[in-house]
Structures are given as C-alpha cells and as structure tokens.
C-alpha cells in the first residue's frame, strides 16, 4: 500500500501546472465546435470529438478523447442519446467535475429546441430508438440560433471577465445568421413539398424547416443497415419511372451503394448532403454548410422528374 501512495504522491508533485489561455470547449460534433468558435472567437479553444465523415452514433471512447475531456471547461453535445455509446464512458473516465451533466460545463444542444420524432413508446425491435426524440437538430438553422443564444450565455457565465465579448459576438452572429436564414428560405422556396427518401432519419429537422416530405428510409429500421429485401421492396414501391420521389438523400459517412443502386433503377436522383461542417468541400463553416445543402438539393431537384 505504501508503494502505491508513494508512487501517486510523486506523480502529483511532478504534475505540471497547466496554464490555460482561454476556455477549452470540447464539442461532440463539428457543428458545435464551429458555433463555439463563432461565439467565443479568440477567447476559447474548441475541438470536436468527431469529424464530418464520421457517424456520431458509433465512436470509440478513445484514450485521446478522454484526455481532451479531462481538460475541458465546457462540453457541448447534440445529446438526446446520440452519443450514448461513448460519451458516458468519456465523462466517467475523464475525472473532470466541471463538465458533468447538470453542471455549468455541460450543454446539451437538443434540450434547447423543440425535438421532433419523440416516440410514444420505445422498443428495440424498432431499431436504434432515441426516447428523447431525433437528435440531429442542427439541420434546422433556427435551432442553431437557439443553441447559439444558450451557448453565448453559458460562455459568459463560465468566463465572466469576457462576458461582454461573448454577448457582442452572439448578437453579431445572430444578426448575420438571420440574414442568411432569410436568404436560404428564399432560395429553397421551390423545394417545399419535395418527396425525399433518406438513408437514415438524419434529416427530419431539414424536412420540417423546408417543408419536405419523407416518403421512405433506406434503413429498414433506424440503425440497421439497408438490406437487399428492403431495397427491393422500396424499388417496387417507388417504381422505375422516377416519379416515386424527388431525391434520395444520404450523409457523407453512409455507404453510397444503396442510394446509388436505387437511383440507377428508379431514376430518382441520389444526393449526398453534408450533415455538418466539413461534410463537403464547400461546407467550411456553418454558413457555407447550409449554402451547400441548399445548392445540392436544388441541383438534385432540377434533375428529378416533374
């Protein structure tokens, strides 16, 4: 026992005192690290646990992530159980009291917005269910505005010396964001009523925002990869004349084969949409993310049958 205590005491003495330049923000997804950078500017340092080509449902609780959470002043995640397979492990291994759920250093973005697809009952026979609703809330820019306000407030609370800075940047971001929303809604007017087939139910907030109609998903039930039987049934349902739907949507980390297979046989254009910042060459920040999504959808819509 004395050996253990001696070893630990020695290590504690050797531990360097880390000087932190600003608030360290650990985001679970790139959209929240991008938002933190918009609002925090040079007073924060943000990193994201996942990148745009990675499915945030399935991430390993890697050692590197544990050491990042250990130092974080704020953890911001989509929540609603999107990260249930790995975030609880990171939080319990990181030994960081500041960022535990319920404390100031933990922000769950999905609790700031009206969640869609909240199931009445949950059963795993229906696939990977999210009892608290669909977690992919970032696909409606109005939700991003709500999270921006909450994040601005939270940063100001965590770092009161720079409160004015965060408030000013939040106001500035929201001003620019609302101008952009008006522009996107103007551009996307023609998309309203479009019938879409989605790989996974990642797009319900986009559908809600733009008035799209989801007619089918490539996954037989959420979280179970598309099967040949399910795709054949979809083909029969949608028909070969290209009139069964207006487009087939997938995100960059989803296997392109099922949507391309269906495109070939039905003539319905398949389109890859970035689900977050970095998901395409042009989606470099939150603004260009939605610019690109709308441009890609308009281009797909122009190829679809009337």
């Amino acid at each position: 026992m004395t050996r253990t205590i001696k070893a630990l005491a020695l290590l504690l003495l050797l531990a360097p005192l880390t000087a932190v330049a600003g608030l360290l923000v650990f985001a679970c997804e790139p959209e929240w690290s991008a938002l933190a950078e918009e609002i925090g500017g040079d007073r924060i340092e943000a990193s994201s646990a996942t990148h745009a080509l990675q499915d945030p449902h399935y991430v390993e609780a890697r050692p590197s992530l544990i050491s990042q959470v250990r130092k974080a002043d704020l953890v911001i995640c989509s929540g609603a159980q999107l990260e249930i397979g790995w975030l609880p492990m990171l939080l319990s291994k990181a030994n960081n009291p500041r960022i535990l759920p319920g404390r100031d250093g933990f922000l769950e973005a999905s609790s700031m917005v009206r969640r869609l697809d909240v199931p009445d009952s949950v059963d795993r026979a229906q696939g990977d269910m999210h009892p608290q609703g669909n977690p992919h809330i970032q696909m409606n820019p109005h939700n991003i505005a709500l999270v921006a306000q909450a994040l601005g407030k939270r940063l100001a609370e965590l770092d009161p010396d720079n409160a004015a800075h965060y408030q000013a940047r939040t106001a500035d971001f929201l001003r620019r964001w609302n101008v952009a929303i008006t522009r996107w809604e103007e551009q996307a007017r023609g998309l309203a009523g479009s019938r879409v087939v989605c790989h996974h139910k990642s797009w319900v907030y986009l559908e809600d925002w733009l008035g799209l109609r989801e007619v089918a998903t490539l996954e037989p039930v959420p979280g179970i990869p598309p099967t040949a039987a399910h795709l054949s049934a979809l083909l029969a349902e949608l028909g070969a004349d290209g009139k069964g739907a207006d487009m087939i949507i997938r995100s960059p980390f989803q296997n392109p084969k099922p949507s391309e297979w269906l495109q070939e046989r039905t003539g319905i254009p398949a389109v890859m949409l970035p689900l977050t910042v970095g998901g395409s060459d042009r989606a470099l920040d939150l603004f260009s993310l939605f610019d690109d999504i709308i441009a890609r959808m308009l281009s797909a819509r122009s190829r679809s049958q009337p």
Binding site: P16, D55, M89, N96, H142, A145, P160, T182, A192
Partner: protein, 463 residues
C-alpha cells in the same frame, strides 16, 4: 476563472391531487361541486371544438402555400423569426413516481455449444495448474452466465454498479456477485476512487466483461495466471495526468481472496497492484493503447488444479503485465469496417511452498511467462473474423515435482484459435470458434458456437 453555482433544476414535478372518494348523495356540497365541474366541462369542450376548427383552417392555408414561412420577414429579435422550435426543458412534465429513480437495468443472455475430443472435465495444462473457474466450457449445449447488471448515481458524489451473473453449475442455479462497487464522481485533482468488488485494472483483457470478449474463451495465459480474470474486493484509485496525451495511473489494494492471491493473506490485505496506461490517435483512422501493470499477490493455501484434490500454494506472486492494443477504422467509422490487434505479455514469479495432499510441502521458486496475440477484422458491417495465438512457457522445476500437475510437458503449451461472429445490432451476436489446443497432454480440436444477447440498459464500452 470563476464558476458560478447558480444552476437551477429545470424539471418540476406535477403531483396528482389526492381524490377523496365519497358516496353519492351523502354530501350536498359535493353534488354542487359535481354540477360545477359538469358545466365547466361543457364549456371547455365547446372551446376546444372551436380551437380545432381554427387549427384545421390554418393547416389548410399552410398546405396551400408550403413555403410561407420562408417569406416571413426576419425581425431584429431572432426568437421571433421562427415560431417552430420553442424553448423546452428536457423534462417539462414529470410525474413524481418512485420508479423514476430506478437504476439502469440490463440483462445479458449467453449460451454455447462445444464439441471437444478430450473430456473437458479432465482438462489441465501440465506445469500450469488452473485456479478458480478457468478451463474449457462444458461439452455439448450449455448456458453460460446470464448476467444482470444495474447501475445508477447514488447522489451528486457517488455512482454505483452491480453485476450479478446467474450460473448453472452441476444442475444448481447460483447467483454470484461479480461486481458491486461504488465510485466517486467529480473528485478534484482528476482523481477517482472505486470501492467494493471489481475486476482489477491490471492488463487490458482483465476488466472486460464476458460479453465484450472477442473470443468465446480467455487467452491461455489469462486462464493459467489469473484464473480467467482477477476479481477481488478492495479499493482502487485512478489518476489522470494533466497531459495533452492520455496518461492514467491506477493503484489498488485488495483483499486477496481470489486466484492468484488466496486465503485473504496479510490479515485481508493480500494483494496490491499498480498500472500505467497511455494511448493516442494516429490520424483519423488509427488509435492505440499501451499499458503496464504490476500485481503483487500473497496466497495462504490457495487452491488450484483438481477441485477434489487441490494443490495448495502459500507464498507470494509478483506479476508483470504488458498490453498493447491497436485499432483501425477508416475515418473512425468502426461500424462499417474495422481491425483490432491486441496482444499481452504476462510474467510471474511465484515464491513459496506448494503442498499436495498427503505429502510434505515443498518449496517453489519459479518464473513463468505467457503471451497471446489476436487480430479481429470486420470487412463489412455485421461480420467479424478473428485469429488468436496463445503460448505459455516457464522454468522446469526439480525432479521432486515429477508426476505432479506442476511438472510441465517437454514443449511449451500452445493454442491456435479462429473465430467468426455476426452481429445484427450492438445487442446481438452469434459466434463460431475453433481452437487447436495443444496445451494438454493430448492435442484437442475444439469447436464452439456461442450467442450473446442483451436487453435493457447497456452501458457504453471502454476502448
């Protein structure tokens, strides 16, 4: 940086009004109340009907012009720009019920079918007498442990976990206590303390639950040196270093009641361990973990070998464990495709006395080692293919141990394994495994089928 503690709980509870039951006509006041309620209901029903009609009209108007919201002018206040999402607390309405504090409960179902050429009841590795429950599964169809787990936060400073496997042994149903621990939450200085019964943090494979193993059985060296997994009662302390890369140290003080310790020697402070782990990423697709552990275990008449006529060891064991794990997944999407390489080297020095029934104890001072390397590849979703190699080696004891289970064969015990498994989801897995096991006196071809299913809460897995 000044942290303000002004967090207010967002949820509030609605408690139902207790309803007093009274019989009809007994109380004129009650009748009056009933009449009032009846008239209120009529009034509200009329209002609701009116609201529904207005809602229908609004929906029809919206359908006529789906992009209406796009044309809506953006006001200076962002909140008013869009009326869809409204601020909503995570638990807007929650009924105050006792069950809301129930722990997360999960059950893992595990079953198997094995075919051995040699009788698994007689399985032994000469020179490496097995302790505890180590050894092959029963011949034919059998249930492996059915594991019940419960976990929840105790309060704001502690969390608790219970794992209780139900096993059938010789026709008898036994509930065991595998894990029962309390852990601190949010201790300062990056410390965490766990107390109770738990799997020791030594090595990599040691603390992994049965359902998370990549093969149906433990590596030979884990069977021989740790009786499958070292589990004991005690205290664990972990510290995460404030470095940019992952660096964790842990120390344990344990009762010493289980193999490789035994008999709760040293007045019930029979074992200690120290571990260091580090790890990181290489690009988006590769990550690794490296660990080094030391275990010191005292034994007081620790049994091993045959259950009816065990060998008893009294003395000390010093063990070193070096582990390396490397995982690859293209862009970190392990669901599509991934590869895991895992290898561990264990070395032990046992110093003490072994006694066999009816014989005088003989002194024993021996160095033994063992290692395994395994690779599991998932080329496409659901299917995984794996291969593993096991080996043990050690000093040859003097001739007084000839014809005892402590005397090894001329060659090092080895085993070769192949595995394929299929997982419909994270909660279901079917596995087929083949072992060529030449660790015993006669080489054995072993075929196994295994299923693992879990229902209910299923905690996140470690790396």
């Amino acid at each position: 940086m000044n942290t303000r503690w002004f967090y207010l709980p967002l949820a509030w509870a609605l408690s139902g009004c207790p309803l007093t039951m009274a019989q009809d006509g007994q109380n004129p006041e009650l009748d009056l109340l009933r009449e009032e309620i009846r008239s209120m209901r009529v009034e509200y029903e009329a209002r609701i009907a009116e609201l529904e009609a207005r809602l229908d009209a609004a929906e029809q108007a919206a359908a006529a012009e789906p992009s209406a919201q796009g044309a809506r002018a953006v006001a200076e206040e962002p909140m008013s720009a869009y009326e869809g999402p409204v601020m909503m607390s995570p638990q807007t309405v929650s009924m105050a019920r006792d069950s809301s504090f129930n722990p997360a409960i999960g059950v893992t179902f595990q079953g198997q079918a094995w075919s051995f050429e040699n009788d698994p009841e007689d399985y032994m590795i000469p020179g490496f007498p097995l302790g505890g429950e180590a050894g092959p599964a029963p011949q034919g169809l059998s249930l492996a442990e059915t594991e019940i787990s419960m976990s929840a936060n105790v309060d704001d400073k502690f969390t608790a976990m219970l794992t209780a496997p139900i096993a059938v042994e010789d026709g008898e149903v036994k509930i065991e206590l595998e894990e029962a621990w309390i852990e601190t939450v949010g201790l300062p200085a990056s410390l965490a303390v766990r107390m109770g019964r738990f799997f020791s943090a030594i090595g990599y494979q040691n603390s992994r639950h049965f359902h998370a193993w990549d093969f149906a059985d433990q590596p030979l060296v884990y069977q021989a040196f740790l009786a499958n997994q070292y589990l004991d009662d005690g205290l664990q302390m972990r510290w995460l270093a404030p470095t940019d890369f992952y660096l964790e140290f842990s120390g344990e003080l344990l009762r010493g009641d289980r193999y490789p310790a035994g008999g709760a020697a040293n007045s019930g402070f029979g074992a200690q361990s120290l571990s260091a782990r580090t790890g990181g990423d290489i690009g988006f697709s590769h990550s690794w973990l490296l660990g080094l552990s030391w275990l010191g275990a005292d034994a007081d008449e620790r049994p091993s070998g045959s259950e009816d006529d065990p060998l008893l060891f009294t003395g000390g064991t010093d063990m070193l464990v070096a582990s390396f794990v490397w995982k690859w997944a293209p862009y970190g999407n392990s669901r599509q495709q991934n590869f895991i390489f895992q290898s561990e080297y264990l070395r032990r020095k046992e110093d003490g006395e072994y006694s066999l029934s009816g014989a005088t104890p003989g002194s024993w001072d021996m160095d033994q080692s063992g290692w395994y390397a395994q690779a599991v590849y998932q080329p496409f979703p659901r299917w995984r293919f794996g291969a593993r190699f096991d080996q043990l080696s050690g000093d040859t004891p003097d001739s007084r141990w000839l014809d005892t289970p402590l005397y090894p064969l001329g060659s090092d015990p080895r085993r070769y394994s192949l595995m394929v498994d299929w997982s419909n989801s994270e909660f279901s897995r079917l596995r087929l495994q083949y072992n060529y096991d030449s660790a015993g006196e006669d080489a054995d071809n072993q075929f196994g089928l295994q299923y693992i299913f879990s229902i209910g809460a299923h905690g996140a897995h470690t790396f």
